[in-house]
Symmetry: C2
Subunit: 419 residues, 2 copies
């Protein structure tokens, strides 16, 4: 057998292990903790963000807006100008969520008092976090309404949910995801079913565990009015799953894809936490009334951990209802899913697609296959505004990530293992 043949076998075997760990993962939402409680090295001047590393001077407008909002909320600054000055001063450490084993939606800004969903992947004794984020803030808002909303999330919502989770002993997220995939969710940009399933699963415990009836009603009303609510929890479950498949020598499986609005980055199991980056893509899709394409920031957020774990746009064939949001036809949705089978190493029998006669979804992106086929992972995503302060989603669409990070990763992979 040739050296290359031997290496190929080693990679295949490692990828089989990675796949097995992905398929056997069983993420459970077990607790809510603040970033200060959960992250051992959290400090006042640390701001966590989405995507690969980025400095203040390169940050897009929506991320700057979210940083300003977070610094104001934390009492680190009293005015917008103060917050900007502090952010630019070099006294603030900016760090990717992924470095701490977590994810944050959109700009993904997390500071000390931000609550986190703690998700345990029990079979592998791995825990990931996902920010319990407030929409207005992470879309770059920092006005009074934004800070009030953050206050409600942090001081009313999070403690109540924490109590309900304790009462329940945790909520199995994999089961909700599997069921929601049978209900037209792809769970990156459409989590309507998962939100409803989560709400109805937790509601009884919320009633039993939380004494203040008005708080219970407020939270139930919030869930009822926020179809996208589940998305961050699902992201956390995907992160907990992919953590179990990380750091396997010789594995060429992608364990992280994430964007910061400027760069799209990937990490590969056999290459640890090295980032391979390329230019973040322009999002192709419709904007909401009042906005146009020229308002939209480039691709941003840790949310494509969903595609990394085999849901999101990968299972779009089973979620045609999302086409109203991101554009495109049912035929295109089927093509997206069909193509993802070409760049993945396996199929997930737990995540099946009714519209394809219950075919298991494609999972486990192999950087070798991406390069061989020339097919990059497909992503559907939400748009933020390119200016700070807007604080809302302005549209959604499809993303074709750059090929460069995959090329760079494959080069580094062979340097590492065939060197």
């Amino acid at each position: 057998m040739t050296v290359i043949g031997e290496l190929g076998e080693k990679i295949d075997e490692s990828n089989r292990i990675a796949l097995e760990r992905i398929l056997n993962s069983d993420p459970v939402l077990v607790d809510i903790q603040t970033a200060g409680e959960w992250l051992p090295d959290m400090h006042d001047h640390l701001v966590l963000h989405a995507g690969p590393p980025i400095s203040w001077d390169r940050m897009p407008g929506s991320t700057r807006g979210a940083v300003i909002g977070a610094l104001l909320y934390e009492g680190m600054a009293r005015t917008t100008k103060d917050a900007e000055r502090l952010a630019a001063s070099g006294e603030i450490e900016f760090r990717p969520n992924h470095r701490g084993g977590g994810v944050g939606g959109m700009t993904g800004i997390i500071t000390r008092s931000t609550p986190l969903y703690i998700i345990e992947n029990r079979p592998y004794n791995v825990r990931a976090y996902a920010g319990v984020l407030t929409d207005r803030l992470i879309f770059g808002g920092y006005d009074r309404q934004t800070l009030d909303a953050v206050r409600w999330t942090n001081t009313v919502f999070a403690p109540a949910l924490k109590a309900a989770l304790k009462h329940l002993g945790g909520v199995n997220i994999k089961r909700i995801q599997a069921e929601a995939l049978h209900m037209n969710d792809e769970m990156h940009n459409r989590s309507n079913a998962a939100t409803a399933l989560f709400s109805k699963a937790v509601a009884p415990a919320l009633v039993e565990a939380v004494g203040d009836r008005q708080v219970v009603a407020e939270i139930l009303r919030f869930w009822n009015q926020t179809p996208s609510y589940f998305t961050f929890i699902g992201m956390g479950a995907c992160k907990a799953t992919m953590l179990a498949a990380a750091d396997i020598p010789y594995s060429s499986i992608v364990t992280v894809m994430a964007r910061n609005g400027v760069e799209f980055g990937v990490q590969v199991s056999g290459l640890g936490d090295r980032w391979f980056t390329g230019e973040a893509a322009v999002i192709d899709g419709p904007t909401f009334p009042g906005y146009s394409r020229s308002d939209a920031e480039r691709d941003i957020g840790d949310s494509c951990i969903t595609e990394t774990a085999g849901i999101g746009a990968f299972v779009m064939a089973g979620a045609p209802a999302i086409l109203r949001l991101v554009g495109g036809t049912v035929e295109e949705a089927h093509r997206h899913t069909a193509e993802m089978y070409e760049i993945t190493v396996g199929e997930n029998p737990h995540f099946t697609i009714p519209a394809l006669d219950f075919q298991p979804g494609p999972v486990g992106i192999d950087i070798r296959k991406v390069i061989e086929t020339g097919i990059v992972p497909v992503i559907d995503t939400a748009m933020t505004h390119r200016s700070a302060g807007v604080g809302e989603m302005i549209g959604a669409g499809m993303v074709t990530p750059p090929m460069k990070p995959f090329q760079d990763a494959l080069r580094a992979f062979f340097e590492t293992y065939a060197g």
Copy 2:
């Protein structure tokens, strides 16, 4: 213009009116009342049932079981034997739910203290009812567990929901149905999404309107554990819709399809409340473990009011997840929906099918088209056991109703209007 041509025009015009009334219907769940409160001529010895008229001696086992259970629950009999004797004595009046403007799932047995969902079709000032039925009873059970479950439904669940509905001012059912159709429900045998949507919409009001926290938690838990819960509410909304299209002279639109386990019956708008019947079909589909096809009763229940109103199996192309329950392939599901466009007079822009690029669903069965094409309406349905006392669903499948009722109806139609 020929006489036939003129008649055809009159029919088309009446069908346009019927269609318009179906499309503009807006059913809202406004209240819960007991059958004794709601039905002006309800009396102790009246038992309402599913489908066209049927006497005790012809009733299938599951219906007999439900009648026995209902008579025991109402205190009309103290033993099973007593109940059977009373039912056979001629002292009990059996009457179809449809005669009173309502529907009941499966055997559809409703007696004086049975709670009813009251559904108002506001634009047409029409109210329909659907039984707030207890699964074990309406599948023919009558044991202690069944009667305890009925007691909980009637004395705990129904009053609490009534209070929540009053607090809310009603729940718009059309909107829930439209959304659930985008979540893989067809709402005859799969209401998972609609149940979750209903639960999360009503939960806040339940918390605010009902003082007993344990009752609130029990009800929320019941909804969480009963994915099919919404089905009866949806049936009531369909009945309220079809009532608005009933009794339009010259309209050949089917306003009722219903089965009693022995006969399948239809009513036609221009022919009032006359029943046209044929032999109820054998259900084609898988049985649950422990049961076989030979255990299954023939087609039964008022639930195909869903297909009559253009959902259920008519929109199966958009609900492939149900195939696990009823059998068949995605291709067959698409064929079922495609065929229904051939026997209907319109499409419902409020009930769209994402899997068909948001094509509006087929609606308004025209008996002329059924005869012309030889295509009967397709129905998916649940199976009851042919013996009294089993008290649970034993399987599900597809139904091809008999052609005879449609032929008889068309003959009567021309006798009436071309005579």
